[in-house]
């Protein structure tokens, strides 16, 4: 998954217009980023990439880019 594809999938998950997120956004500032988004994000990673993301790892993410880095690191491991 490229960074661009990732950003589009997060747009979709948070019901934002396609192309809204650039990556540098702080998760705390995103209105729709809540506990259900977190489990949805984990579900998408499992479904589309067959990656099991540790919830603690997600909790440590500050920005959208951090989420992408987490996916990258899990895919590599």
């Amino acid at each position: 998954m490229t960074r661009e594809e990732f950003l589009l999938s997060i747009d979709e998950l948070l019901e934002l217009e396609s192309g809204t997120l650039k990556g540098s956004e702080k998760l705390a500032d995103l209105e729709n980023w809540d506990s259900l988004s977190i489990v949805s994000f984990m579900g998408l990673a499992k479904e589309r990439l067959n990656i099991t993301l540790p919830a603690k790892g997600i909790a440590a993410c500050q920005s959208v880019d951090d989420l992408f880095a987490l996916i990258r690191s899990q895919a590599a491991s």
């Binding site: 998950l13 489990v39 984990m42 603690k56 909790a59």
Partner: protein, 252 residues
């Protein structure tokens, strides 16, 4: 003279989901009550692990994929022709998933309903066939308190578990004439691999749920005891009901 009202000597009981969690604990307890078991799950190696922990001999390991719904009645017929009629069936196999609506897809919903609900119905269909059930047959379905209380993000799972409660009532009516009793158990939070999965997916959730259980989290054995009771002659006048085993969770 001592008696054991839950004695299952001479009974042949099929347990699905016997490779882990409540299914495995149930198989172990039933073997200690002298039942003969048919252990069912997809994975043979994990079933063999359960098998090696059982008391007694003459138990069978039967790997089978319950998503193959159409094959279930014929498969039970075959089991009964090889091993004799079944006295009991426990449907302990289940699929859990945290799937908020925003990522729910029809195939995912179908997968959960297929194993948790549809397989239960086809097991009942197989069990009631002539020659497949002994006198005083008992079917026990593993529901959940998730079928009794709302929980965000797991609506597919809760729908499947709530459906089992209704299924048990109607099957109890339909199968009484065949001498088969049908009941559910509805466990609260029990420490199993599935609950570890919940903790992995939603950390902190378990602690919150555990606090909502006045007696704390349960053990697989606590649920197995209820299942064994419903299978035994001690429950011969109980059908169409749900035994809640939840440390007080639903008493709120």
């Amino acid at each position: 003279m001592s008696i054991n009202p839950m004695d299952l000597t001479g009974r042949l009981i099929l347990v699905t989901g016997a490779s882990s969690g409540i299914g495995r604990a149930t198989a172990l307890l039933l073997s200690q009550l002298n039942a003969r078991l048919i252990l069912v799950a997809r994975n043979r190696d994990r079933l063999e692990q359960t098998h090696s922990a059982l008391e007694g001999t003459n138990h069978q390991v039967e790997p089978f994929d319950l998503t193959n719904l159409d094959a279930i009645p014929g498969w039970i017929k075959d089991l009964a022709s090889r091993s004799g009629p079944l006295h009991g069936v426990v449907h302990g196999a289940g699929v859990y998933g945290v799937i908020p609506l925003r990522i729910l897809t029809a195939p995912k919903l179908e997968e959960i309903l297929r194993v948790n609900l549809s397989a239960a119905m086809l097991l009942a269909k197989g069990f009631r066939q002539k020659g497949c059930h002994a006198d005083g047959g008992s079917l026990v379905l593993l529901s959940s308190v998730a079928g009794l209380r709302g929980h965000a993000g797991i609506s597919a799972y809760t729908a499947s578990k709530a459906a089992l409660l209704g299924l048990a009532r109607s099957l109890a009516m339909e199968l009484a004439r065949e001498g088969i009793r049908v009941n559910c158990v509805a466990p609260g939070l029990v420490a199993t691999e599935m609950s570890a999965q919940v903790e992995e997916q939603t950390p902190g959730e378990i602690a919150g749920v555990e606090n909502a259980h006045p007696l704390g989290a349960g053990r697989p054995r606590d649920v197995a005891n209820g299942i064994a009771f419903l299978l035994s002659d001690a429950a011969r006048w109980i059908t169409g009901t749900t035994l809640t085993i939840d440390g007080g969770y639903t008493a709120h």
